[in-house]
């Protein structure tokens, strides 16, 4: 994903369009109970995508405003006379507001991602033949059961293939597991190594 793609404000709406296509497909399913079930969970996922869309657009807007304010802020910071002026106060105040807003949006994105993925697991449950060895109750339990899955008995499943493709990434944004780590914060010896998310500093 390049820079332009990352800053694309319609990230989540594109996924919503994809879901609409899935719903159109499911409307052709003969067994109406299955079609209804898929449509029900698909609607839940779409609701979460709409919320993520709101957060994402707000984040991008505030981020841009913060970037636009930066030259002005730097100017006032380096100017002893104007530092205490009304204008400078307004700029610094707005910067603080925006930083706080971005902070809240960042946390919201993590939490709402978790909610979205929980709903996606419910949608998966509505479509696939459920396996006894895989837990579809929540995103965390889904990932944990796939992590422990013994495919030598079960054979490769669609869910396992998915885990192989995206498991590492999905585990990184599993908020419940992150909370589990934070609760062990004061007892580092007890941290389970397999829960530690990879450090993502990029060159």
């Amino acid at each position: 994903m390049d820079t332009n793609e990352i800053y694309n404000p319609t990230q989540f709406l594109e996924l919503n369009d994809q879901l609409k296509q899935l719903e159109m497909l499911s409307a052709r399913v003969e067994k109406k109970s299955i079609a209804r079930r898929i449509s029900q969970y698909s609607n839940l996922v779409r609701g979460e995508l709409n919320d993520l869309d709101i957060i994402w657009r707000r984040f991008l807007k505030d981020r841009q405003e913060l970037i636009d304010l930066a030259p002005l802020s730097t100017k006032y910071l380096g100017d002893q006379e104007k530092y205490y002026s009304e204008e400078a106060r307004k700029v610094f105040g707005r910067e603080l507001e925006l930083t706080n807003s971005i902070k809240v949006d960042l946390k919201s994105l993590f939490l709402y991602s978790d909610i979205l993925l929980n709903k996606l697991v419910l949608l998966i449950r509505a479509v696939v033949n459920q396996k006894r060895e895989i837990k579809y109750r929540s995103y965390t339990s889904f990932l944990k059961s796939l992590r422990k899955l013994d495919i030598s008995n079960l054979g490769t499943t669609w869910e396992y293939a998915l885990y192989q493709m995206h498991g590492d990434d999905l585990e990184r944004i599993d908020v419940s597991d992150s909370i589990e780590i934070n609760s062990l914060f004061t007892c580092p010896n007890r941290i389970k190594k397999e829960f530690l998310v990879p450090y993502t500093f990029r060159k």
């Binding site: 899935l22 499911s26 399913v29 003969e30 971005i102 479509v127 992150s178 914060f185 580092p188 450090y199």
Partner: protein, 128 residues
């Protein structure tokens, strides 16, 4: 700065509270001597005092030390030194993905899940 990921560290959108919330620490791995040797080698990259004015080598908690190094990584020009500093930080504090990486993961995995589900619907319910 060619990648957006660094922006979160060096620009004004750097949000220390968020990083700490999502950082897991392997404090057992912290070696003060190794840290101080690295700090000396880095010159003025890591401040001598923490934000409360205490000399950094006298703070007992390793976390502020690692954070002080982490937020200044972008200032290290020498690639070898920078790599060593990154390795050091990585060995102590493991940080979860930033916002851009989160969105990337979320989009790509959701897209693939939805695509695969569409294929499953076709395969299981529509092709007779």
């Amino acid at each position: 700065m060619s990648e957006p990921y660094q922006e979160g560290i060096s620009r004004s959108v750097y949000l220390p509270e968020i990083s700490i919330d999502h950082t897991s620490w392997a404090l057992d791995e912290f070696d003060l001597e190794k840290f101080m040797a690295l700090v000396r080698e880095l010159g003025d990259i890591v401040p001598e005092r923490d934000k409360y004015g205490r000399p950094i080598d006298q703070v007992s908690d390793p976390r502020p030390k690692v954070e002080a190094l982490f937020v200044n990584l972008h200032r290290i020009k020498n690639p070898d030194l920078r790599e060593r500093a990154e390795d050091f930080v990585r060995s102590i504090g493991l940080k979860s993905p930033d916002i851009y990486y989160l969105v990337k993961i979320l989009k790509e995995s959701s897209r693939n899940i939805i695509n695969s589900l569409s294929e499953q619907i076709e395969k299981s319910f529509l092709r007779k």
